[in-house]
């Protein structure tokens, strides 16, 4: 198995990310309805669909396609989710500029840069019951797997596990950030919608990369 993944058209990878959000639109809103506004899926699908229109049928590098996704979210949805995801994808995009091939080190750098861009605008910490409860462990576990000498594919699977665990960890947390923080103790027992959409995205990214290994 090759340790280099060729991304012929970045649009295909971003299309996968769009599809996973759009097809989970109602599920994400339903989770959000328990402790939030109930509009997470609607807002996310709105932003990702704007991107779909912008990139449909184009030939772009992964960096260019991710930049389109970032711009679509920042422009299309305000609130907190627009800038949070917008920054993550900006970080990913900047890190892989000009690349048509990815090594596991490239993916490691890409994930790290997304996390760093996010931290630039948000003070959110692990344990706040939000998307960083998924993103940070996913990013860290991938880096650790690369350090431990795991193969590209193994590292992706380790990341997927960490993302799912991170998402599930939000169930027992009390929200410290966002609208759900109003509920205090009552926010316990429900998954966080942002952590869930983040898990979908990170998992899909891993699957899309793995599908291009040969």
């Amino acid at each position: 198995m090759s340790e280099v993944v060729v991304i012929k058209n970045g649009v295909d990878v971003v299309d996968d990310l769009i599809n996973v959000i759009v097809s989970n639109r109602d599920y994400l809103s339903e989770i959000d309805g328990a402790i939030g506004d109930g509009d997470h899926g609607i807002n996310m699908a709105k932003g990702f669909n704007i991107c779909k229109k912008r990139i449909d049928g184009k030939q772009l590098t992964l960096s260019e396609a991710l930049a389109e996704l970032s711009d679509s979210l920042m422009e299309g949805i305000g609130g907190s989710m627009g800038p949070l995801y917008g920054c993550i994808f900006t970080g990913w995009s900047d890190s892989v500029q000009g690349k048509t091939e990815l090594t596991k080190e490239d993916v490691q750098a890409m994930l790290a840069n997304g996390m760093s861009e996010l931290q630039d605008i948000s003070p959110a910490q692990k344990g706040d019951k939000c998307l960083v409860d998924t993103l940070f462990p996913a990013t860290d576990s991938f880096a650790q797997a690369v350090k431990d000498g795991k193969t590209f594919k193994e590292a992706l699977n380790i990341m997927k596990d960490a993302a799912a665990k991170g998402r599930d960890s939000t169930k027992d947390l009390v929200a410290k950030i966002g609208r759900a923080s109003r509920l205090g103790e009552r926010s316990r027992g429900v998954l966080d919608a942002g952590a869930t959409s983040c898990c979908l995205l990170v998992t899909q990214l891993a699957d899309s990369i793995e599908a291009r290994m040969n």
Binding site: G38, E75, G78, G79, S80, G82, L84, I121, I177, S181
Partner: protein, 334 residues
């Protein structure tokens, strides 16, 4: 249950309301290339510092109602209770820039902080200098030792009033920022909620306050307050709300202050005046001098029942700027 509201489409209430504001008050509002940005028609004004704000909808007349002469130049408009996009803030900054820089004066909320931060970066790349003041006047949202965590509420109006007057008086950007910062540093606010509110697109109440109860310290979007207590008559309510404000230690006998009492959307104006009479009486007892008072629906939360109290301590500069003439939908004076 059918929502008894005067709307067309629950998903388009912000768009539809903007049409109404522009149609009713063309002397105050001009559209821009960005559908979520409105500006005062006479700006940009060469050499004057631009004043920008923005925030979620549902707080009318805030935020757009403070666009006008000698106040806010351009406003970024978000969905109900949701921050405008970074692009909207950026275009408001561009619309108001007259070459002397832009002061973006907004409230301390996670979404607004992130979107403004990104807009400021992009404005810098476009050659526009933007400096910010973040309002944090809500004493109930965090202890004074964590003032950076406090939310911005109706004190924002006094921050815009002072900042707008400073810009109109020819202050440079640092001067406008300094005056607006001083205004908010001398502001303290608290709210009391008596009932919840419904976002049309959501269709059910955002939270719940039991009949006969009131929530002291509630936020503008139903953020949790200090405690929930049995409903008090207006005179007790005034004491309950003044106590945490006076405990901050900035208002003393002899202080000159501005008092701003705002309804949260469903409160009859008559009751705001019943409440104001009690506040005024208590302040007189304590020797605090009310230089100017504002009573009305200045900063609301859809149809929430309740009231907010804001006090700003004055010095000579703030007094002059607060007293300057202004013409906007939410505030007319001089």
């Amino acid at each position: 249950m059918k929502l008894n509201r005067i709307i067309n489409d629950p998903d388009l209430v912000v768009e539809d309301a903007i049409e109404g504001y522009v149609a009713a008050h063309p002397e105050l509002f001009a559209k821009t290339d960005h559908e979520r940005v409105l500006k005062y028609p006479a700006i940009p004004q060469k050499g004057k510092v631009g004043i920008v704000t923005g925030g979620g909808s549902g707080h009318e007349p805030a935020f757009l109602g403070y666009v006008g002469k000698n106040m806010v130049d351009a406003v970024a408009i978000g969905e109900i209770f949701s921050s405008p996009t970074a692009g909207a803030f950026l275009d408001a900054m561009k619309a108001s820039d007259g070459g002397a820089g832009v002061a973006c004066l907004y409230g301390n909320y996670a979404g607004d902080n992130m979107n403004v931060k990104m807009a400021v970066k992009k404005a810098a790349a476009a050659g526009i200098t933007v400096k910010t003041v973040v309002a944090n006047d809500d004493v109930a949202s965090a202890p004074i030792t964590e003032r950076e965590k406090r939310r911005g509420v109706a004190g924002e109006i006094l921050m815009w009033k002072v900042g707008g007057a400073a810009a109109a008086a020819g202050y440079d950007l640092d001067g406008v920022i300094g005056a607006a910062q001083k205004a908010i540093d001398n502001c303290r606010s608290i709210g009391v909620g008596l009932s919840s509110c419904i976002i049309p697109a959501v269709g059910h109440p955002n939270f719940n306050i039991d009949n006969g109860m009131m929530e002291v310290g509630i936020g503008h979007h139903g953020e949790p307050g200090i405690n929930v207590v049995p409903l008090q008559p207006a005179n007790e309510m005034a004491y309950t709300m003044l106590e945490p404000i006076l405990k901050e230690g900035i208002f003393e006998a002899g202080s000159e202050v501005v008092v701003l009492v705002s309804g949260l959307g469903a409160t009859p104006t008559m009751e705001l005046y019943i409440y104001y009479a009690e506040v005024d009486r208590i302040l007189k007892e304590k020797g605090v001098k009310v230089h100017r008072s504002y009573v009305g629906n200045y900063f609301t939360s859809l149809e929430m029942m309740g009231v907010t109290l804001t006090m700003m301590k004055l010095d000579d500069e703030l007094k002059k700027l607060v007293d300057a003439p202004v013409h906007s939908l939410g505030m007319v004076q001089g």
